[in-house]
Amino acid sequence: MNAPSDTIAQYNFAYLDEQTKRMIRRAILKAIAIPGYQVPFASREMPMPYGWGTGGVQVTASIIGPDDVLKVIDQGADDTTNAVSIRAFFQKVAHVAVTTHTADATIVQTRHRIPEEPLKEGQVLVYQVPIPEPLRFLEPRETETRKMHALEEYGLMHVKLYEDIAQHGHIATTFAYPVKVEGRYVMDPSPTPKFDNPKMHMSRALQLFGAGREKRIYAVPPHTRVESLDFEDHPFEVQRFDEPCALCGGMDVYLDEVILDDQGGRMFVCSDTDHCEERRDAGHRGHLAGEDGPPSSISEGGTQ
């Protein structure tokens, strides 16, 4: 047996064969037609592990064309290892142009964040989803959860929120916060922080969700209502940070906490690296950015 790699060499544009792409596109179309409904699809093994974005990659591979411009983020950043790896995959198998600028991208594949900059018409946001079923941790059985969706039996979801308030005085879900889409299906927005939930509501972009291991695709078409579940007297609230980004001074953005030393020194910086850079390019400065050099001492710059 000699050099079996000869037989492996050729892959189709964007890796998936055209038949598979057609099957996935059909699932996507169905998902768009029934906003928030989880469409089962025959997910394929991908050359990256299940749970590492295979759903998002399959969706992107099925919709991407040679003229698309792709941006990939993980935790809001373009330079995290998994984002780098997925971007490199598409450069290799589809030879598409890539970018880190949200505004320049036609497709943004994401894990755990929605870019701060509002998306425009014509853009597609592809989410990587680990567990698509918002009811899964209340009811582990697929047979039962599908019935609950079909019959719109969502009381159990509110039981969980009720318990939070009874116990803590407020809702204690911070990410993967369940939403209701167009007044019908309860949907898991993937493990984005609830900070990002309002961005999904009436978005001008198409939002596609791919769960490879769980074999589900769902969608929120442009201009669709996406409401976070809550109570009238305990309305949904997003996280608020006490201070602006230490680098760009941005307010009302999601921040990462960066540990600076083992003395409790820390700083908060934009989780969306592209947003942060653009603001700095536009002349915005946070208290640790300095004018044109490093601050004298970083470790003094923790939270006040």
């Binding site: 509110h158 009720y162 009874a166 116990q167 007297d233």
Partner: protein, 258 residues
Amino acid sequence: MTDEPLLRVRSVSKFYGNRIGCEDISFDLWPGEVLAVVGESGSGKTTLLNCLSTRLMPTSGSVAYRMRDNAFHDLYRMSEAERRMLMRTDWGFVHQNPADGLRMTVSAGANVGERLMAVGDRHYGRIRAAATDWLGRVEIAEDRIDDQPRAFSGGMRQRLQIARNLVTGPRLVFMDEPTGGLDVSVQARLLDLLRGLVHELGLSAIVVTHDLAVARLLSHRMIVMKDGHVVESGLTDRVLDDPQAPYTQLLVSSILQV
């Protein structure tokens, strides 16, 4: 008040292969009426209850329920969605073992509030007020509202299950041996409470029990079952004081002698 029954049961039979679960059962249940179904274990009374409450599909027969719009609907022809809706709004089901009817790992308040949330109530304060009110009505102290039923005694669990069922103001409640598994003193208190609530709310109820004392205390009318068949039915006092069928006579005398 209407002069039509709430439930019309016609020739309901359930076979398990060749074995009879229950056969050819017919009766009407009237608004505000409590019907007891008595018999030994294996007499088919629980099979009948499960057929009537659509938890089990009968082999043949029909059950028509008069909905709030006064129209009769055949339960076995309803869609699953309609049936499940009925079960969590207009009906209640009290299980013998409260753990089967409660969510053991969520608080008492949420247990009572779940049905309200299921039908769309989205006001935390109002849901909590309703739960507090119902806990009071079933004699559970208000400060237990955030405790899980795991921390409750058997009698408290059963009272919580009843509150959870009644919070949506159902018109018909099915009960399967509601006092089974409880101490005698706890049974008496629960029966008292149930009798009060049924009377106060004008509930219709079908109560399955092997205990003639429960039937005597709760029901207006009763059905005596043996081997899947009805052997006698009538007003509760009449059946218990003047049983006609030999089997009923045996049942009554054996209880009285104890």
